[in-house]
Symmetry: none
Subunit: 240 residues, 2 copies
């Protein structure tokens, strides 16, 4: 399996600012190759750089094309970001499904996005293999260009980065069980002195609840030291 990052194709983008924002969204998730088809205000566009917030390398490397056909000539598969087309028979996938397919391709793929106001037109979509539609609230479904780009780029990055299991720093320095026992002994002794346990019958249950509570906290060695300091401090008056 190869792992060729898809190119992002912006078709007739209107505002330089949105081109910049798309570049930023791409680079956030490791996509670096942008292609521009007939941007309305020409290229380069001075409004793009500031909006890219540092993703200048994407803008500097952007290539300019006159037509969609030119822009996708070397690509193995092209996804058209749009809602489901009414009068065309195309497979429709989510961004997640699209990137899963892309990760298995031997030739570079493209993700194609339309103009801000109108989106891709039927001629553009007809050149694509597949329609890519973001699952979205049907009652409020308009996504702007940079949002559409970032969701696709995000899915690409997630799929590439074989999502790791839940990271938990607590697992890096788990306190040995003996330290818990020291904490429990100290707590029990302090509570005994204060008359916390109303009856000998209930004491085992009460201590068990406390142990369970601290056990579930997955304490580090440092945290157990802290708790022992707290108990010592709270009982200080008696020690004097």
């Amino acid at each position: 399996m190869t792992d060729l990052a898809p190119v992002v194709i912006l078709v007739r983008p209107q505002l330089g600012e949105n081109i910049g924002k798309a570049a930023r969204a791409m680079l956030n998730f490791g996509l670096t190759e942008m292609r521009l088809v007939a941007p309305r205000d020409g290229w380069p566009n001075p409004a793009a750089g500031p909006a890219a917030s540092g993703a200048d390398c994407v803008l500097d490397g952007a290539r300019l094309y006159d037509t969609v056909a030119d822009a996708i000539g070397d690509l193995g598969r092209v996804y058209a970001a749009t809602v489901r087309p009414r009068d065309m028979v195309k497979p429709v996938v989510t961004p997640q499904q699209a990137v899963a397919e892309i990760h298995g391709l031997e030739r570079r793929a493209g993700l194609m996005f339309g103009p801000e106001r109108s989106g891709l037109d039927n001629e553009d979509v007809a050149l694509a293999d597949t329609v890519m539609t973001v699952p979205v609230n049907p009652d409020f479904s308009s996504l702007n260009l940079a949002q559409a780009v970032i969701l696709a780029a995000y899915e690409w990055f997630k799929a590439k980065d074989d999502t790791k299991p839940r990271i938990d720093r607590r697992q890096e320095d788990p306190a040995p069980k003996a330290h818990y026992q020291g904490l429990y002994d100290q707590l029990e002794e302090a509570l005994d002195k204060r008359g916390y346990f109303r009856s000998a019958d209930r004491k085992p249950t009460q201590m068990r609840a406390l142990k369970s509570l601290f056990q579930n906290a997955s304490l580090t060695t440092q945290e157990i030291q802290t708790l022992r300091g707290v108990i010592k401090s709270l009982t200080w008056a008696e020690r004097k």
Copy 2:
């Protein structure tokens, strides 16, 4: 299984425009409840509406709070959107993992986002249960506020239909955050009286470590009652 949509908490947001964009991102993916903690320019903010592109219902329903503690008082679990904290021990999850957990909760969860320039500070993060970090290009990792919100909202929407709950007894009765706050207040007062905090400088760090520790224990309402009884008992001599 319930399916309570999480609330989105914007902590000290700077620009009204970004509040509007966040509202739009939320509604795109079915999240409608926004909470604002001390927005820099007050609230309502005339710049928010135009940027929301029609998501006015989210802005109209936004509730205003003075502090993070107030804003999260009724929530069962809070995720802090930030990079991995350096000096705190917290579980770290991706947005995808976060929403998988949230779908199984019986009490509403919150997704908390910081100011545009600086992000959440350590005091804010200490009040959260879990850090939520977007997997992102390590060489270009800055996400703007609306981008961070949309990625979390998108994951929520995607998972809404088909996520199975994680089985966890503690999720059946998570203590509301206000109960944690009561515990922290009681503990701080008791430790103050005993001179536990050696210097005013170190006190915030020490309290943060303690809050983080209890936060990570995912306490039930009953367990918080137990801990408060323990503290009361340990300081009993003084009360006489």
